[in-house]
């Protein structure tokens, strides 16, 4: 895999997660209190940094074949989740991820929650909301960056891509001071799902001992092939949904 593909995959995946974390941080900061929100964010980032510092070097000690088998399996499973959700959303069977609606919900709950200080934190609710949001979304970022970096033996570039995504999203968030609802999240999630599933299959099969025809060049067929399958499933589900909806009024008319 070229350095550019590694950078772009990690950057896009991390940007999507950063947008989701930003929505929660903004809801906590704008409705509650910024200082406690930043404290929660800082503690979550410190926990994530410890995870990276422990897991990153530990993964370099694992033999590459075993690493590719385990990481390939995890990425394929993880990618399937992303792809499944993106296809269900694109075909209308699941509601689109709406950052504005999520923000409105978080704000409504944050406004009614009691204000109480604990352990030197002025607003414990803002702290925990921000901490949980950044930690949970950040875990996915860490997982993707570490696994891609370890497999490509280029953890530095993967970490740089993840950091760049977080910085870009944070900068835009600070500039607009609103959830980034115009980011085409589902399209990006579909693209990341395709990449995770493709690399998961590639590394998983290699880890199990198989050799791909053309070695690394096989990815040039696997990635577009997976994308086409995903688009094909989306088209099929859209058609099935439209046919189902058209059949319901017709059945109603004939019954009447």
């Amino acid at each position: 895999m070229s350095s550019l593909a590694l950078f772009l995959t990690v950057f896009i995946a991390c940007a999507v997660e950063a947008v989701e974390a930003l929505t929660i941080v903004l809801a906590a900061g704008l409705t509650r209190e910024w200082r406690s929100t930043f404290q929660g964010m800082a503690v979550a980032l410190a926990v994530l940094a410890v995870i990276v510092a422990v897991l990153g070097p530990a993964l370099t000690l694992v033999p590459l074949t075993a690493l590719r088998l385990v990481v390939g399996a995890l990425l394929a499973v993880f990618g399937l989740q992303w792809l499944r959700k993106a296809i269900l959303r694109a075909s209308g069977y699941k509601g689109l991820h709406d950052e504005e609606a999520i923000y409105a919900r978080q704000v409504a709950v944050a406004r009614t929650a009691a204000s109480e200080g604990r352990h030197g934190v002025r607003d414990w609710y803002a702290f925990t909301l921000s901490f949980k949001g950044v930690l949970l979304e950040g875990l996915e970022v860490v997982f993707i960056a570490i696994t891609f970096g370890a497999n490509q033996q280029n953890q530095g570039l993967a970490a740089a891509a993840a950091a760049a995504a977080v910085v870009v999203v944070a900068a835009v968030g600070i500039a607009v001071r609103a959830p980034l609802s115009r980011v085409p999240e589902n399209t990006l999630k579909f693209a990341v799902g395709v990449m995770l599933t493709s690399f998961g299959m590639f590394w998983g099969a290699e880890g199990a001992g198989a050799s791909w025809p053309g070695n690394d060049a096989a990815l040039l067929a696997i990635v577009p092939g997976t994308a086409l399958v995903g688009l094909g499933y989306t088209a099929l589900l859209r058609r099935a949904r439209a046919a189902g909806r058209a059949a319901v009024p017709a059945a109603g008319r004939s019954a009447a």
Binding site: L69, A76, Q81, R84, L88, L139, A205
Partner: protein, 69 residues
């Protein structure tokens, strides 16, 4: 303590496996079969995992949408 362990396990299950455990099961079985074919029967079964993953995705989507308008 047991409640904490349960929620810890539930978090990681949801994080890795997600809504449909069948996809994870298919990937695990396909990888085991690939290793078996490669090492025990000398068959270069690179094609097995993509076929299994595409099938698992279709199966999972079908289950998620069947009976829904």
């Amino acid at each position: 303590m047991s409640r904490w362990l349960r929620s810890f396990g539930a978090f990681w299950y949801d994080f890795v496996i997600g809504d449909d455990w069948r996809g994870a099961a298919v990937v695990a079985v396909a990888l085991a079969l690939t290793a078996l074919l490669v090492h025990a029967a000398s068959v270069n079964a690179w094609w097995l995992l993509p076929v299994a993953v595409i099938g698992a995705l279709g199966w999972s989507l079908r289950r998620a949408t069947s009976g829904k308008p």
